[in-house]
Assembly symmetry: C2
Homo-oligomer: 580 residues x 2
Amino acid sequence: MTRLFNDPAAFADEALEGFVAAHRRWVRPAPGGVVRAAARVPGQVAVVIGGGSGHYPAFSGLVGQGLAHGAAVGNVFASPSARQVRQVARAAEAGGGVLLTFGNYAGDVLHFGQAAEQLRADGVNVRVLPVTDDVSSAAPEEAHKRRGVAGDLVVFKVAGAAAERGLPLDEVTRLAALANDRTRSFGVALGGCTLPGAGEPLFTVEPGRLALGLGIHGEPGMGERDVPSADETARLLVDTLLAELPAGVEAPAGQRAAVILNGLGAVKYEELFVVYRQVSRLLAAAGVEVVDPEVGELVTSFDMAGVSLTLCWLTDELEPLWTAPADAPAYRKGAVTAPVATGDEPSTAPVDTTDDTPLVADEDGRRAARRALAALAAVRATVDAHADELGRIDAVAGDGDHGIGMRRGSHAAHEAAADAVARGAGAATTLDLAAAAWADRAGGTSGALWGVILGSVGSALGDTGRPTPATVASGVTAASTGVMRLGKAEVGDKTMVDALVPFADTLTRAVAAGAPLADAWDAAATAAEAAAAGTAELLPRMGRARPHAEKSLGTPDAGAHSLALITRAIQQTLATKEVD
Amino acid sequence: MTRLFNDPAAFADEALEGFVAAHRRWVRPAPGGVVRAAARVPGQVAVVIGGGSGHYPAFSGLVGQGLAHGAAVGNVFASPSARQVRQVARAAEAGGGVLLTFGNYAGDVLHFGQAAEQLRADGVNVRVLPVTDDVSSAAPEEAHKRRGVAGDLVVFKVAGAAAERGLPLDEVTRLAALANDRTRSFGVALGGCTLPGAGEPLFTVEPGRLALGLGIHGEPGMGERDVPSADETARLLVDTLLAELPAGVEAPAGQRAAVILNGLGAVKYEELFVVYRQVSRLLAAAGVEVVDPEVGELVTSFDMAGVSLTLCWLTDELEPLWTAPADAPAYRKGAVTAPVATGDEPSTAPVDTTDDTPLVADEDGRRAARRALAALAAVRATVDAHADELGRIDAVAGDGDHGIGMRRGSHAAHEAAADAVARGAGAATTLDLAAAAWADRAGGTSGALWGVILGSVGSALGDTGRPTPATVASGVTAASTGVMRLGKAEVGDKTMVDALVPFADTLTRAVAAGAPLADAWDAAATAAEAAAAGTAELLPRMGRARPHAEKSLGTPDAGAHSLALITRAIQQTLATKEVD
């Protein structure tokens, strides 16, 4: 378990501060994360990585010469926000453009994707590459849906070495994508992990059992068996990876491969070496030539007990990038030459992302903003009341941070909205600011989606004029469409979308039939509740199914459930006398 | 707990094999451990380190340019044998002499000390430096009795960098000793560890409690308290070390210090960073300038949960040695230049330590050898029967490996003696070979001491002529003297000596009084049993007492207890009809 902390809510920020204090030779803080301490090299592509905290050395430990240029650092097990990614990328980029690369988790995909849009708007050339090496998280024909685990390191290393050579952005991206296409990982777990301050483990594995393909946040894997010997574990890992060779590799014999045997946290070095002894023998027996193997802790999950094996089937292009020197806090290889100082030190001042457009609200718009603020207060209260429950539900299939993220987001949104209302803002501005605050403070998937919801509703309401029930319904419909697009989910995938779509449809139909807003919202909230409950019905499809469909294990989807709770809480503010 | 292994008895050997397979760039196997893969530099001092397995990256992970030249690798938590140390030193030395440096544990002191004697006999110039940084293991006025923990790294690093500069052996030794004198560590533990295959933890810390100064094998510390916050933990560590400055450092302000915040295994990186954040602030507030801090796992103890802080108060001489480049499997810093290849690759063939002196035994000597073999069979049987009990007793105050070590040693001794008897050897040769086998296979303190006992008795018996009871008694007395000298222990220290001395005295007196050997031995065994039971009587004196006196916690000393068991088992072979 995680034992040493102060305020658990401050854990990730304090860990980052201590990490920087210990590694000033390599990194310096940037808003949202860290960038290299060394001067930027003008024209060089910046490789910007990132993800949640709790996986050290991923991601901050991999910033340095020959590796990443910057890392956006999210809260514990939560993606950094788009704003964080944008800030780190702006501090790292040196005129050659930015490659954003990260593990393929919904929250990271959302926030890095939004950051890419923002950076393009800033005039920065950007490419996006999610890492998808975990073979147990989706079938080969849906490899693009796979999660990223220790294969992150291979992709980051290849990208960093390519950037160090001065290659252009498209070429760096091509090589990194080639590395990703040829990298496969498979992991097993013997025990779960406990987050700082948590009373019980986020997830567990029964003593004496081995969970196959269990994700680094406890995402369901492919099954269980009794704990095997170290040699049998090695065979399981090697056999699984040799059974799925990438396109163009017809047989293992004669291939050269980068190999990572990764400890998840509680499996210690000597155990890893005992396993690696047999991995090395089995690969040799299969005719695979191992190049610069890494045996240690490269992607961890606090005190999770587990081990994963990663193979990258090298090509003549990839091998020199894998073996090139690197000098990062947690990854050092060969001799690096100190970079030429340019005097162009990365800025540590935040990029100004505040919107200073003058407020244009009228009295109707300000009244609508006050009602929105009252609704956000109700949202905050219901999230507070249900935060533990949301965390528990999320822990069944996800990473258990849903309650924490929703609290951070709803509090930040309410605070931003209160400020906006105090300054006389209209509904659109108030909800836009609330949306940005929610997304930035919450991070994770839910943060990005609630940002979209608030922003969409705000845009429909506008800053002037009196919103009609139809305006509200159109905003909710826009939110529903936006969430489906950004979350890449459809009805039936057992996500928030399962509740949001019927909510929007019911609201729209009731409003069109002439119902007052409070009544229409009531009916819609009831539909959302029924649909959220329905996300619990599907039986789990372990391993080889669509990731979304794997989620349900008799408990509802956490995102759908919180949407239902929130729509009900808002309905109660609509049913009361109008706030003024 | 440790979960991934094959045969637990093979764990250390298999881990070493896997370690070497993963790090061929840096190390190659040598009999008894590892040496650098790079060619030796003629005339350079060889820094040879070592200790038990289970503490990675100590010790094999610290072999490489700028650090150690070789590491002798013992069994789990057991020192390597003198033979191992000698073999590694012979493979590493390049004409400049050898510095043997290691943590100050009884077993290591014995075996490295014996190896030094053997190396001198081989014509190698040798210096010996035990590391003594753990302030909780003895009072400042007995600093030479302190254990070595993460301060090992500082001493090894300084020695390695000094050797790399081409300094002579005395100068390398002087600088390493200076580093040791100025290095202090203090650790706290939140949980114990479980050895490979063990059914229960070797030692534990009650949940929610923090053990102050608990050793990395569970050696008793200075007390307990409730688990504090990370910031309070940092203050405890810093305050303890600032309270005991080395000679010549009058105040922390204005000093420069190498700093290591070490995780013992289950305390993970982010937690270490949260603690380091406050360590860094407190040191800055005290006016200490931190130089090249290390925050990570440098000396571990499997899955032990704990953290230690090490400060080395640098001088102008020490600082450049601490900051010099190094390139080892688990410690890399700065850019190292590849060494000049000399074609002088270290030999991986064992140094020939077999004795091919022709056998000179007569029939009396061979008969005595057969009786010695019968006694060794009884020893083996009683050790097998009591191995679990011995481990449990040892775990109270020691590292719990006594049962394992005694088994390995007694089996090896019996096997070697059987070979010798089959070849027609006399008692002296038989017991000498048995002594060497016991010490080499068992490692640890008990291995060295039983080597002395068997060797002493064998020398007294000789290879020719019929041994008298007086000869046997004189051998036992020599054994008793030898153990006191080598173990640096006296009667009352609650060690094996407490039982061995009355055994030898009683035997000598009874034999002098004309008793037959079987009767005299019976009386002596009874005396040993009473004395062994007496080692349980002293109350524990935590922390600041003599290390030996700390050991007793209501259970007898494991070494004294096993001596009593063994003398009784031998008595029964004497009481039966003579073997022939």
